[in-house]
């Protein structure tokens, strides 16, 4: 089943085309890695697809009314903003806002979703801690749990592993892959090509605001594309642990 369908999506900022005629669809159970050099338009594509910024063309999510959209797609921005020193549990509960009217108290259903989200991100022990006092890795997990509590079939995450140590990078990507296997769809932007290649079922490679390649990791990440789009010489090998990918040096 198609959860997100983007057609001819374009975004212009001050007469500059940031995105040009992007078309793709994401179905149930897919874990899509969104790759591309800095400025390729990864964040802009996700925000436009969510309807957070003005755009041309269509996105099935952006055209929903805000309440329905909030129950269809959850968004994890890269900024990891936590403005106030709230507890982890309360912060995760914010994910239930689309299901609560103003001033309404959480119901059983809301608590169950929060508990499940905390458990999924292994945050039970931190439940009553103040979110702003946690380490960067813990905060990233809390914010993912917040998105999980929103209980949407689709999750979009912008650079969710940026700034995390290797263990947390791997466990976080495993979480996203697991969510996809469990029936949700995930779109994750990333700079670590190897990490994305190992955990995602599909990669979309953006370059200069257009899709350069879209398909399974081993088809998208080729030595030639690395040279052409990223300007690096890369090492690439299929191992029994999955594909291993390592950029080696900048091509002069």
């Amino acid at each position: 089943m198609t959860l997100l369908s983007v057609e001819q999506l374009s975004v212009s900022l001050r007469d500059r085309h940031v995105l040009k005629n992007i078309t793709f669809a994401v179905g149930t159970g897919e874990c899509v890695g969104l790759l591309g050099p800095n400025g390729a338009g990864k964040t802009t594509l996700m925000r436009a697809a969510l309807g957070l910024i003005p755009h041309e063309g269509s996105s099935s999510i952006a055209s929903m009314d805000p309440a329905e959209r909030a129950r269809t797609a959850a968004w994890i921005p890269q900024t990891r903003e936590i403005a106030w020193p709230v507890t982890v549990e309360r912060l995760v509960m914010l994910g239930r806002i689309p299901y609560m009217a103003g001033g309404q108290r959480p119901k059983v259903d809301d608590h169950e979703n929060v508990d499940a989200a905390l458990a999924a991100m292994e945050l039970d022990g931190l439940r009553n801690r103040t979110a702003t006092r946690l380490s960067g890795g813990e905060q990233a997990r809390v914010l993912i749990a917040r998105a999980l509590a929103q209980d949407t079939p689709l999750i979009l995450a912008d650079e969710p592993v940026a700034g995390l140590d290797p263990a947390h990078q791997i466990s976080t990507m495993q979480k996203f892959a697991g969510l996809a296997r469990a029936g949700r769809s995930v779109i994750v932007s990333a700079h670590d090509l190897g990490l994305a290649a190992r955990h995602c079922t599909r990669l979309i490679l953006l370059s200069g605001g257009s899709i350069a390649a879209d398909g399974p990791p081993d088809e998208v990440l080729t030595i030639e594309r690395m040279a052409e789009i990223f300007g690096v010489r890369a090492f690439f090998q299929d191992t029994e642990d999955g594909p291993v990918f390592q950029p080696l040096e900048v091509i002069q």
Partner: protein, 327 residues
Amino acid sequence: MERLAIGMIAVALALFLAALTIGPAAIGPGESLRALIAGDAGPLTLVMREIRLPRAILAVMVGASLGLAGAAMQGYLRNPLAEPGLIGISGTAALGAVISIQTGLAASVALGLPAMALVGALVGVALVVALAGSRGSSLTMILAGIAISALAAALTSLVLNLSPNPFAANEIVFWMMGSIADRSMTHVWIALPFMALGWMILATLGRGLDALTLGEDAAGAMGIDLARLRLKLIVGTASVVGAATSVAGAIGFVGLVVPHILRPFVDAQPSRLLWASAMGGAIMVLAADIAVRLILPDRDLKLGVVTALVGAPLFLHLIYKTRRQLA
């Protein structure tokens, strides 16, 4: 949460009774309350019903408005330094009120005074929100506040100096420091419509402000209409601050001190901080107005002096704490 609400209501009630029984005319508490409720043609009933009752009611209304506005502004800008007085909204509201009085609008049009103060406050709050941007950086906000306050104070001074009335020129003190001494029920009725409107608007912001804890993008993706939220914040804040300033002058720091003290008690949740700060503001202004009467009963000490004495050191403390963010 309920315990906090009950506790604050109890404190507010006790202070309200104290405000009714403390005053420059020494009258026993029992005697004064009897005169208030039973009532006769004597001067005591006049004092209770026409001076002390409106004063206590105004303390509650003005305090609740300023506390609520502070909590709402802070929630929206995600900045604990956002306060109607400090960022110039009270100043522009005072300018609106002064223009309304000097042009005769206040006397000729019903609600002309709070309406003009509201217009002034709208200009102030819209300027701050526009200048400080979506996420209110402390530095931008404080600098914008300084500029807006200075301009508003200068224009207020100018309008008062242009007045043919010899008393007008000295009234800048009232408009800058605020007072609810010797007000009457008229002032309660003047302020109430706009305040009630603002309270209702601001009370609906809780959900959106909670979502904003995660930033504008995350809130937008959770179905919060940010443009609508901003409009409601601007109109609601302008209504309550405008109405409060039109009858009591600019009373600073209430919207800073109250949310800061109460934030830990509501687990920093912006929605719960709204109602808590409204009650806390009422408590603070009631207490400050009692202090004004106890410290210098016959000197007409301005209310804003007391709130600034409490609030300014806290403001400095907050700047110290957030100075890395400021740089």
